[in-house]
């Protein structure tokens, strides 16, 4: 009886704690914080003083006309721009308060932490299994074959692909349909347990059904990952993201809750772009 009472009190206490914490939980934590980011390709400046916070476990969509700098910004977040010789990045990008452009940062580790999915599905010319197993293997995430199997299966499962491929894991990944290949690439990205997933127009090469499946997947993934997506489809940005950032001519024009951006943007350039008025 006493025990029962204690338990009950404990539950009630917990409840009141929950209530006091509730407003705090609604405030998302900043996962990535970019401040005063300038990017140059040789002489040409592609990004001008971009300041943008990416919230943890949310989908942030980057939109804007071609050449506005949205992909350039996305590629800064896992230092993909390093591979372009003439590209210089200035400013600070903090991932959980660590500057990713710090000399001490191992870029390979960084890219495991900040995974990427590209516009065109690009599976390795290997089996479905090997496509997913490759990352965990080189990062030493599995010590036994069973562990590796476990990672591959759960990654395929989380990418919503397992049921379609479980009987043909040894067939080449390139033999899958476009939408399946893209989900394979997502499985490959999440196999190394990243915290952030960058997506550069992940659906632009897919049909509407495959697109819908990827969008559904993005929505599921955001429970565990921070997602940044570049998209040319404003409807897609509206459907999948919680926050939207609009870029134009290398400037971050406006960032806000997706609903606000698409119903009542504050900047005229945003308004003109999303309503189809840009000349």
């Amino acid at each position: 009886m006493t025990r029962h009472l204690e338990l009950k009190t404990a539950v009630m206490n917990k409840k009141s704690e929950d209530q006091t914490e509730a407003p705090l939980r609604n405030v998302p934590r900043t996962k990535i914080s970019a401040t005063h980011v300038d990017v140059f390709y040789g002489e040409k400046q592609a990004l001008m003083d971009v300041n943008l916070d990416i919230n943890e476990r949310e989908v942030t969509a980057l939109i804007g006309p071609s050449g506005c700098g949205k992909s350039t910004f996305l590629r800064c977040l896992n230092r993909m721009n390093d591979v372009i010789d003439i590209c210089r990045v200035k400013g600070d990008i903090l991932l959980d308060d660590r500057n990713i452009y710090d000399r001490a940062i191992d870029v390979v580790q960084l890219r495991a932490l900040v995974g990427m999915v590209f516009q065109k599905p690009n599976p390795f010319p290997k089996s479905i299994y090997e496509n997913v197993a490759y990352g965990p293997r080189i990062h030493g995430l599995a010590s036994t074959g069973e562990e590796l199997d476990e990672i591959v299966m759960s990654s395929l499962g989380r990418a919503g692909l397992l049921n379609e491929v479980k009987d043909r894991l040894n067939e080449p990944g390139t033999g899958l349909s476009g939408g399946q290949q893209q989900r394979l690439c997502i499985a490959r990205a999440i196999a190394v347990s990243p915290e952030v997933i960058l997506m550069d127009e992940p659906c632009s090469a897919l049909d509407p059904i495959a697109t819908a499946r990827i969008e559904e997947l993005i929505d599921e993934l955001r429970a565990n990952f921070t997602i940044v997506i570049v998209t040319h489809s404003m409807q897609q940005a509206a459907r999948v993201s919680q926050r939207t950032a609009f870029f134009h001519l290398g400037n971050l024009v406006e960032v806000g809750d997706t609903e606000q951006i698409f119903t009542n943007p504050s900047d005229k350039r945003t308004q003109d772009y999303i309503t189809g008025r840009f000349g």
Binding site: N264, P265, Q271, D272, G276, R277
Partner: protein, 238 residues
């Protein structure tokens, strides 16, 4: 419109313009309906009243036309931001105008009944109707021009309509107390006045919609209001 620049796709602009034209025409029709209904009351003209009652079908058809165009725009254009607000607002405005038309029809029906009973002077009614007519005209101008200040002025003006309604209510009460034979006519007039008062409310609804359409934010709740007539106390000894 509030946003003067044009869409890259020109047919989109044409469809939005068509929406404005439809709403504007609908506004013109209900204005005429109100005017005709009130004239039928004041002139005791049952034939004119009949025409107004029949004319309401046109308003209903126009509302359906707006509805069809809005569905089409939503489905085919996937409007965003100011366009989305414009299109959704037009649908709401059409609904308000349709109700506005219904009230004109109710007034016209009572005009037929009232022409059979002794005449009761109700000078406030004509004024009230003119005021509401001006409100609906101005608020539709505000819609077409995207002029929130104009919309807010209409929104404020409704308090005057309420006040006129209240004084008319008291006046009619006095007539009824003076002579019970006035009760039938006065009751009809009271309902007519109530219809006009409700029309003023629809005009303020439209003003609120126009504000949302242009600014993307709601007007505050505390619209200035006249007295609530249901609390007006008739002095039986007076």
């Amino acid at each position: 419109m509030a946003n003067p620049s044009e869409h890259i796709v020109k047919s989109y602009d044409e469809e939005l313009k068509q929406l404005n034209t439809l709403i504007n025409r609908m506004g013109g029709v209900v204005e005429t309906q109100l005017d005709g209904a009130i004239q039928a009351v004041l002139r005791r003209d049952p034939e004119m009243a009949e025409r107004i009652v029949k004319g309401d079908g046109q308003v209903d058809e126009m509302e359906q036309e707006v509805g069809a165009l809005v569905i089409r725009l939503l489905a085919l254009r996937q409007p965003m931001a100011v366009d989305l607000r414009h299109i959704v607002s037009s649908l709401k405005i059409a609904a308000d105008l349709e109700r506005f038309g219904d009230h004109a029809k109710s007034i016209a029906k009572r005009a037929i009944a009232i022409s059979q009973v002794p005449r009761i002077p109700a000078p406030g009614l004509d004024r009230m109707a003119r005021m509401v007519q001006a409100m609906i005209k101005d608020v539709l101008d505000a819609y077409i021009e995207g002029d929130t200040n104009k919309a807010i002025r209409v929104w404020r003006r409704d308090a005057e309509v309420d006040q006129l309604y209240n004084s008319l209510f008291r006046e009619l009460l006095t007539y009824m107390m003076e002579d019970p034979r006035n009760i039938t006519g006065c009751t009809h007039l009271l309902f007519i006045a109530k219809n006009v008062e409700r029309m003023g409310d629809h005009a303020t609804n439209i003003a609120e919609t126009v504000h949302y359409q242009v600014k993307g934010t709601q007007l505050p709740d505390d619209r200035p209001k006249g007295d609530d007539p249901s609390f007006a106390i008739a002095d039986h000894n007076g």
